[in-house]
């Protein structure tokens, strides 16, 4: 089956975020394919490159990044939701160099909601977290 995943919870919700990650890993292990992982709402915080990891905290970011790399996935981040939370990609930062700096980098791509809708049309199941 073809799945798409919509994540709306902040990665600070470690329990839910690792639950989502485990779900994605299980999908792959069971031979399903993941069409797209779309981060929306507070979920976009996962893409924030401008952060310091406390050694005491569970590094959920790294776990996700490892998963994206292993599976060669290009997760999408909603541009509007990201901008609302002070997160920008290269192109947007280049348009407003005085005001903002980029803090979203590969493997994340900035996307519009249209891409979420498109993912829905190409997937058998959409699973939401958050």
């Amino acid at each position: 089956m073809i799945f798409s995943i919509l994540i709306k919870n902040s990665p600070c919700n470690l329990e839910l975020s690792s639950c989502a990650l485990k779900y994605c890993e299980s999908l792959v292990n069971q031979g399903h394919s993941i069409e797209q992982i779309f981060f929306y709402g507070d979920g976009v915080e996962i893409a924030n490159n401008n952060r310091l990891q406390s050694p005491d905290d569970f590094n959920i970011y790294q776990k996700w990044y490892d998963f994206f790399e292993e599976q060669r996935l290009e997760p999408l981040v909603c541009s509007t939701a990201a901008a609302r939370r002070g997160l920008f990609g290269d192109e947007e930062a280049a348009r407003n160099p005085q005001h903002i700096t980029a803090n979203i980098f590969a493997p994340f791509s900035i996307a519009g909601l249209g891409q979420l809708v498109e993912a829905c049309t190409r997937s058998d199941r959409l699973i939401s977290f958050g």
Partner: protein, 120 residues
Amino acid sequence: MSTPKKNLLFIFKSTPYGGMASQEAFDAIVSATIFEQNACALFIDDGVFQLIKGQQPNFRASQAKQLSSLPFYDLEKIYACKRSVQARDIKTQNFCLDAELLSQEQIFDLIHCQDHILSF
């Protein structure tokens, strides 16, 4: 878009100003209609508060005003959970748009015939 149309149900279950969920639900359903999907909206739980007209929020655009634009996006299938509306003593005359009240059973049926559900 050449891909087949899907039945998408957007569930609005949050209060209008308790966070960005109501705004983000609105943005998402508008995108779905722009991309010509069969979208419908269901207001349930505290989400029914979004439907009350005459909202005067201080820090954001009125959610009711935004929602009342949905028919202009050709979105006509708008539903509200009867039980949630009654439990909060909201009168349908105070709704900002025409929403059909559904019983629990009708909601089960509605959910059953969807391809995907997005809940906010």
